[in-house]
Structure formats: C-alpha cells, structure tokens
Subunit: 660 residues, 2 copies
Amino acid sequence: MNPDITRERENATFNVEKLTHILDGGIEKTKRRREIESLVISDPDFQSEDLNFLSRSERYDAAVKKSAQMILKLREYGISDPEEIYCYKSVFRGNHQEALGLHFSMFLPTLYTQCNKEQFKKWVPLAESFKAMGTYAQTELGHGTHLRGLETTATYDPATQEFVLNSPTITSIKWWPGGLGKTSNHAIVLAQLHTQGKCHGLHAFIVPLRSMNTHIPLPGVVVGDIGPKFGFDEVDNGYLKLENVRIPREHMLMKYAKVEADGTYVKPPSAKLTYGTMVFIRSMIVGEAGSALAKSCTIAIRYSSVRHQSEIRPGEPEPQIMDYQTQQYKLFPLLATAYAYKFVGQYMNQVYHRITGDISQGDFSELPELHALSAGLKAFTTWTASEGIEVCRMACGGHGYSRCSALPDIYVNFVATCTYEGENTVMMLQTARFLIKSYQQVSAGHQLSGIVSYLNESERRLQPQSVSSRPTVLNVNDLASLVEAYKLRAAKLVEVAAKSIQQELQKRVSQEDAWNNSAIDLVRASNAHCHYVVVKLFAAKLGEIGDMGVHSVLSTLALLYALQGIQQHSGDFLQTGLLSVPQLSQVSQRLKELLAQLRPNAVALVDAFDYCDEMLNSVLGRYDGNVYEHMFEWARRSPLNKTEVHESYHKYLKPLQAKL
Amino acid sequence: MNPDITRERENATFNVEKLTHILDGGIEKTKRRREIESLVISDPDFQSEDLNFLSRSERYDAAVKKSAQMILKLREYGISDPEEIYCYKSVFRGNHQEALGLHFSMFLPTLYTQCNKEQFKKWVPLAESFKAMGTYAQTELGHGTHLRGLETTATYDPATQEFVLNSPTITSIKWWPGGLGKTSNHAIVLAQLHTQGKCHGLHAFIVPLRSMNTHIPLPGVVVGDIGPKFGFDEVDNGYLKLENVRIPREHMLMKYAKVEADGTYVKPPSAKLTYGTMVFIRSMIVGEAGSALAKSCTIAIRYSSVRHQSEIRPGEPEPQIMDYQTQQYKLFPLLATAYAYKFVGQYMNQVYHRITGDISQGDFSELPELHALSAGLKAFTTWTASEGIEVCRMACGGHGYSRCSALPDIYVNFVATCTYEGENTVMMLQTARFLIKSYQQVSAGHQLSGIVSYLNESERRLQPQSVSSRPTVLNVNDLASLVEAYKLRAAKLVEVAAKSIQQELQKRVSQEDAWNNSAIDLVRASNAHCHYVVVKLFAAKLGEIGDMGVHSVLSTLALLYALQGIQQHSGDFLQTGLLSVPQLSQVSQRLKELLAQLRPNAVALVDAFDYCDEMLNSVLGRYDGNVYEHMFEWARRSPLNKTEVHESYHKYLKPLQAKL
C-alpha cells in the first residue's frame, strides 16, 4: 500500500462504510452487491486480457465469449432479480459493452410487452433459449430522433397473408442497432405499415435475419457491421437493408394494433403505453452519469494523492498534486456532482417505480411530468458528466491519455449517452415544452402541482424591481437559501423564454417559427430547471442521513455543488437580482474554503463509491496507489512489444537508409 | 453534387476564393499550397486503407511506410522550405500522426542548435540520412512539467572519459517520447549531469539505443512501446530504462555547457537560449487549434446543410438541421472561433519571426512577453478548440460517433495538446505570473508597454464605483467597444487575483502559499487576458481586409465571437459594471440576429478554409454533400464484414444454444 494514500485514509473524518450503505440503499444491499461482485471477480472464466490490446475483431470475439459465459453463470448461480443482474453485469462489463446487450434490453422486453398470447408462446421461449438472438432496429441511415420520418415499409399482401418489408431508399437502411451486424439472427424492425392502400404509421415486426442453423443471412437481407466508432468497439452496431423480405402476418407484434387476415387494420387502444420504457431508460442513464463520473473521480483523486509534482514551497519535496488549489477546483466540484447525480438517480428510480404502479392501474396523470423530467435530466446530467470525465482525465496529466488510465474508455463509452435514447438538445426542448405549457397554465390562472409548482409564484415574485430594492435572499452558507435561488433563477429563465416566444408571435411569425426562434432561451430554461431539481434533491437527501460524520461531509459537498453552479452561471443570478456583486466575491471565497475543507476527505469520499479495482480497470485508480510499477508492467504487455524489432523496420526503414 | 449544398453555395454573399487567400497569406501562397496538396493527392503511393480499419500494429506499420515514402518524395520534388514541408505533411498525415515526427521536430533541431562544430559534422549527416533515427527523451514515468524533478543520471567517469547513464528508480524511466518504442535507434536524453561529485542539473546527451545494423536494443537499454492511448495509435510512444549505459564524453551536446576530459564542468553563457523552441512550438499549436476547429466546423456545417430531420412547421418537409436555432448556436460561434484562432496563429507566427530576429542580435527584451503570451494562448485555444470539436461531433448526431465522420480522430489527436508542450493549467499560471509582475510594476509607479499596457490604466479606471454612476461603455453593435470591455475585464480580473494574493499575505502565509491559495483567481485572470488578446487581434485583422464582401462577413463573425464570450462570461462583465442587466438581453437578442445573418454564408465560410476531401477524410464533411451512399460504402469495408459469419458464432453462440 502506498504510504501517501494510507495517510489520506487515516485522515478522513467520517465512516466510509456508512456512506457506502447510503449509496447502495442499505447495509443489506451493500452486502449482496459485494457477494455478486466477488462471484465475477473470483471466476477464472472472466480473467481476460485488457481489451485495449486487441484488434476490433478480437474484441468483438472476446465480448461474445463473455456474454455467452455470463448467461450460463447467471443460470448456474440462480441470479434472476433485475437489480442483481444489473449489478453482475456492471462488474463483468467493466468500462466496456456487452455483445448481447440489446437482446436483453430491447428484444426480450419488447416481446414481453408487445406480443399477443400466441406470439408470446412462440417467441419468448425461442428468445430465452437464445435460439432467437435479437436486436431492435429503429433508427435509419437518414433518420434518428424524428420517428415519423422513418422510411422502411411493411406492406401487407392478403394473397399470401404476408408482410413484404423493404428499404426503399439509401436513407432508409437501418443503421446503428447494437448486435445487428453479426450477432443477431432476428430483429424487431420498426416500419411504416401499409395495408389496403393506406399507411398506418410505425409498427413493430419480428424479422428473421439469419438462418437459425447456419447463421447465414436469409435471402433479401443485406446485413453487416457499420464499422469502427469512437467507442463500443466490442459491439457490432449494424446496418440492415431489406429487399422484398416476406414474413408471415403473425410476425407483426399484435398485442395492441392488429392487421387481420384480409388486411383490415385495427388501431391500438392508447398511444401512451410505449412511453414507459423510454422514461425508464432515461432515468437509468441519470444514475449512470453519476456512476461514470464517480469512477472518473475515483481514478483522478486517488492518482492525485500519490502523484507528486513541481513545488509549492522552494526546497521542500514535491507536493501531492491534490494540494494544488487548481487541482482541487477541477476535481472536488465533480466529486460533488457525482454524489448529486447518484442521489438523483436513486430518486428517479423510486419515482419511476411508484408511477409505473399508478400506470398499471390506469392512472397516467404523473407521466407527463416524469417524461419531461427524465428527458431534461438525461440531457443535463450526461452533458455535464461527459465534460467532467474529460476534466478528470486531463487532471491526470499525460498519463490520463494512456488507455491504462481507463479514462479514455470511460469517456468514449459514456459520451454516447448524449446522443442515444434521445439527442440531448431535443430532450432539453421536450422539457422546455412542458415548462412553457406549465407557465401558460399559471398565466391562465391555474394552480400547478408537482415539481413545476414554483412557477405559481413567478407572477408574484418576479415583478421587475431594481436590484437595490429587492431584499437579498441569498445566504452563501445556507443550502436552503441556495435552493431558493436556483428555484427563482429557473422561474426567471422560464419567463424569459416564454416572453421571447410572445415577442416573436407579435412579429406575426407562426407558432412554430416563434418556438424555433426562441430555442436558445428554451434550452437555457430547461437547464436552469434541471439544475434546480438536482440541487433540491441533493439538499433533500441530506435530511435522510442520520450519521453526523457522513451528514457533515455530504453537506459540504452539497454546498460546494450549489455554490460552484452559482459561480459558473453568475450572470443568471446577477441578472435576476438574486445575487449582488459583493456577494459574488463571498461565493468565490467560500468556494475556496470548501475546497480546503474537503481536501482531507477526498480519498475517503471516492473510496465510499466502492468500485473494486477489477471494475475500474485503471492503473492510475488502483486502491493501493501503487501506480508506477503497474504502469510499467502494463506497458510491457503492449502488442507492439511482442517482438524486439518491428517488421516495419525491415520493410521500410532499412531500405530507406540504403536509398539515401 | 447534393442540391442542398449547391444552393448553399449559390446563396453566399462574398467571394470564397478571396477569403482563402487571406487565410493563406496571399494568392501566391494559396496557389503553391494547392500545388503541393495535389502532389500528395494524385500520388498513388499515398492511397491507403482507412487507418480506422487496421489493428494498432498495422497502423504503426502503415505510418512508418508513409513516413519513409514521404522522405523520398520530398527529396524527389525538391521541397525543402519549412512552410512547404509543413503543408505537404498536413495533407499526407490527414487527421493522424507521423511515425518519424520527433526525428524532424525535436531530434534534428536539437542537433542543429546544440551541437558544437565537431558534433555537428558527425551527427547531422547521420541524422539527415536516417542512419541515426532519433527522438527526444525528456519526460519520465513520475515526472512531467517540472523539469528539475527529472531523475535520470549521467555520471562522468574520467577514467574512461565516458558518461554512465542510469534510470535509478521506477519513476525515472523515460516515458512518452514519440518514436522511442520501436522506431528510433538514438535518443537525445535529458539527464542530471554529475561530475567531480557534484550535480550540475539537466543536460542533453546523444544515447544510441539500438544497433544501427540490426536495430536490436543495445546492452543496458530496456526500450519498448508504452501501449495504446486515446489517440496517436500509429505512434510508438515509448519507455526507456537505462542500466549503466556508457557513452563517450563527446555524446554530451556541448555547444553551450561542457564537461572537459578531466571532468571539469563549464557553465553555459545564458539560460535563455532554450526558450525559443518552446515558444515556437506553442505558437504553432495556437494555429493548429484554429485548424482542428476549422476542420471540425467544415464537417459539421456541411453535414448540417444536407441533413434533414424533424420538423419546424407541421406538414412541411423535414428542414435542413442548420435551420434550427440551437444548431446555429452550437456551430456558428465555433466557426467564428476557428477564424479567430487562425488569425491569432498568423499573428504569433509573425511575432515569433520578428522576435527571433531580435534574439539572434542579442536583444531578449520581448521574449518574456512572447513567452507569457504563447503559454497562455496555447492553453486558452487548445481547451476551447477541444471542447468545440466535441460540440461539432455531437452536432452531427449519432453519425458523429462513427469513425467515418473523422471527428473522433480529430478529437483524440488534438486534445493531447492540452497536456503536452506544457500542461494547460501550468501554462495559465505562467502567464499569470507575468501579469501579476506587470501589475506590481504599475503599482510601483512604472509604465508598461506592449500587450499588458492596459494595466497602466487599471489604477485610474477601476476605482470602485457604483454600477449606476459609471458611464456605460458597452455598445453591443460596435466591435471596438467590445474590445474595450474585454480589456477592462482583463484588468479587473488581474486586479482581483493580485488582491487575493495580498489578502493571503496579510494572513501571514508565505509568498508561495499565497500564490497557491489564489490560483483559481490567477487562472481566471489569464483566461480573461487571453480572451482579450484574441478579440483584439480579430478586430485588428479586419482592418487589413479591403474586399467589402469578405470584410462584411468577417465583421459579423468577429461580433458574434465577442458577444458570445460576453454572454458566456456575463457574470464577469456584470460584476465589473461593464455591462448592465438590460444590456444582457440586448446581447442575447443581437446574438440571435447574427446567427440568422450568418446562416446563408455558413457553408461558404467553411469552404474558404479549403480543406480537400482527402485531408478531411470525413464522409460527413464531403465537398459534394453525398453523405449517405458513401457512408454505406465505407461501412461495407469494415473488417468485421470480411466474412458473412464471424467465427465467434461457431465458438460461443452455437454451443450456448445447445447448452440451454
């Protein structure tokens, strides 16, 4: 154990284990999580070479192998609770992806929820036994977020009682689905349904892609890998071009909508039913933003405690780089953010489960709010976390750039969340739509409930006043006061966006153009709304914590989180008169004090996340702090070191020398 | 040609070719650049597979091949002017790196400048004929920016007239030098010189690493590749452990310092001489920040003009995504930034050449200012450009995540500049040191000249005044007024940092601790200083432009650049009373107008950068806008598509099905 990091742990002022229990949701959950983790870690079948040393084809091969092993192990150990499976997978995946990911996350759930009884009986056993390995093919080469734009067609032929599937244009080729390229032999394909000469919009079809015996693509199916990406190297994201592919009528998923034998179309009862999955996945992503940032902070903070560099005082030994104020200023606010997002993730999960209970009883009333919240928070947290991962990486200096730090892998795999499951700007505008609608309801005299109830006050509170005459609400030492400031900022920015739309409308442009011409303000309003929600939930979480030591350090983190946001967006707070210029210096000063206050607890705070070395897979983030010897050991395994002299020397360099 | 992009070009209001000449520095330079580019493009020897499809070893192999070819071609074509070589390399490298990069950028220049006459005669011909292929080994596993911390030793042994080189600890292993792992047979090694029982600090030594005949590592030389990184896949960044390696006395570079045969050490005449290269490389990086961002904008803006998605007005066809205000707000300020950095790069280049003239005549007076400026601007521009590349990538939606967009390559290769050649935060603090020194000189009654002369006014102008009594200086339509505002902001933030140091000193902490406890403010001051310099130089550039059309569009860009910075840092401007709250709404409004105004010229503005398709190597950024068919064609070449059925199916999936 590196003595520096031991000293850090000795200096902590709180009980790390207790904080871990809070993050897990209880002492029992921590225990079970660790049991599951040790199953993976101690399993010799999961020992494998660092994926970074392999070619893409080898990485894909390794991922398929792991996925196949995992399926057998989960059955062997009898792990079937979704939370426990999630936990198992988190360890076994590390910072990478699962080859059969979409089979579990999209193919199976869609079969469970959208098959009618006969379909269920046929397809679920096939899928659960992996005879049918599937993916979910929605996006197309030319079409992403805007579902109505999808071009793939499924035309019903009553003569044979079949659907004929086609990709009529180059832009209609299915593009991006994970596992589509090489792994899957089936796909649920979203296509525009045509029957009896009419288009009825998007519906889902089970399309066999490859022979279940030989895995060779079926006639009319042009399928393959879309090539290397920023990350997700081990996943065969694929393309699919359908050329008059015929499937039986029963391959349309018919729990809700139907096409009868003669081609008669039967509408589904409600459009809201598909909402749920989307909301669930976005809520999960919020928690994952917390995890990705927590991992990154673990690596950067542990490394900053063992790395010595330069000098603060001449003649003294090189200090730990965590003693530099600039390093603290980079890392500690991100640490606070990681905690904030972990708690927000917990909250979203609870709300989701509460609301799905309501939904199953036919009560959809809270769904729009949850939908708006999950969209905005997904965007808000993934943007910040992505930037934060890079800040952590660069805070490790040159070594952060090496794949041995794990930070490049964490970044490239996480940053994709900014784009998938709803592109972030589109998400922000969806939340804005809900906010503006709520604002208009207040203006029309309605009283709002739920998270946007703060807009009720806006009419009263936000009358134009001069800065000096407004009573100053902000107390930089009081979290409740800061939550209030974030609330008023959000209310103000929603108002600014709403007024921009009004002004545009007065220029006699259409409603739609007015919206587009106010889009910058709308995104800003959504950001402020989400920021308020996060600060509020972080503050609320503190109320649940009994242990004094843990409460104290989390309070410091929450205050740091809130104050840093105010400093970064000081213009908003000054603009709304929530903050005065002299207070801004107070904020700066207080921030510096909080950094110094957190310094002795930094390593303990990342230890509490409880990521084992096998999950981090980072030489810089090792629990024992013994970084350099392991870095050398890792480097020696580089594939370029397999031979002393690389063949390119004989091929190109020696001949070059001869020619000159 | 895609009709959308053709229409964009027809709508431009200025002459693209004229703007290209301005960027190149004249019509003749444009002509010569294009000649050189076409030499590479038309050369069948340089046609190669996309590096993204290759394994790391294959990529390294391909890079060595290309470097060897390039050397022969440059001789064949008689290209020897450094600017022309730079141009040639830019095309042939594309978005990747050169295998022999450090031989040219560090090994040869160090030999040229630090060899004495005899050494020059021996080593320069060896290096120029590539008998000696070299790199520059400075950083160590445990030591980066802080040179005095380096641990490698070179101990003189007068008995044999040799230096004995050692890596005494694990942290002293040389780490990171490009080309060190497999390519180089020599390295210039920086080591602590010990002679006659005394350490004389860092000196440079020529150390043979591998046999010049067989390329096998020499005894005592432990050398290899440090493993995969975020980018730079084709470069063999290496490690080097020296175990009692003996080199003749004449292998110490002795133009300045010397060790005589008996071991007597002779000091160099001046320490300032090594300054120059560093300043030059950092200045170059500023221009490269402009280029990286210009390439990224080219890709994202061209793609945004051919990509149609969602709807603004119901029932109408899907609009070009560039019509969304949010998309314009992402991309156009970055476009303005790319132009700004290109012009700043030109300026730095000119200043560097002027000042090196002075230096060669013994006049070092301007060096500290240039040193401070190049350090800060390197950090300022590389941070912003890196973030901007990612914004461009994500503005391309999912397809930006594919390696076929080229944006992942541009990012991972460029973002390294934030760390190498001086870690950015350290650079910012170096600039801050110059600013604080200047501020203290003014306080002591001195009058400053040069770029910091604005600090002369600070004492007078920045007296505390209430916001209302200060005459408002800002005119949001007048660039000169905005430059003034940036200047006053910089002056204010330098003052804030200086006062923070004073306050710390009053708490009786040491000078060094006061500095560290003010580091956040110091970095903020440097940022504001650099931002001011960029706005000022952009405005100054407009004065050189005669053509009305070009002048007009560049003026719009400059205004956008300045106003967006004010919006992003509105807290600073409000805080200093340079901006009033009502003006902030004006800034927002004006920004939206400028976005709309730039919209018709966006494609023409990226065309003017004049990157040919071969240099961009981006399917999304193609000049002809025919994105989708080429994306499909690219994907089909993915290595995973070499076989219809991947071997992993037979190895893992089929057996899995059998077991369940």
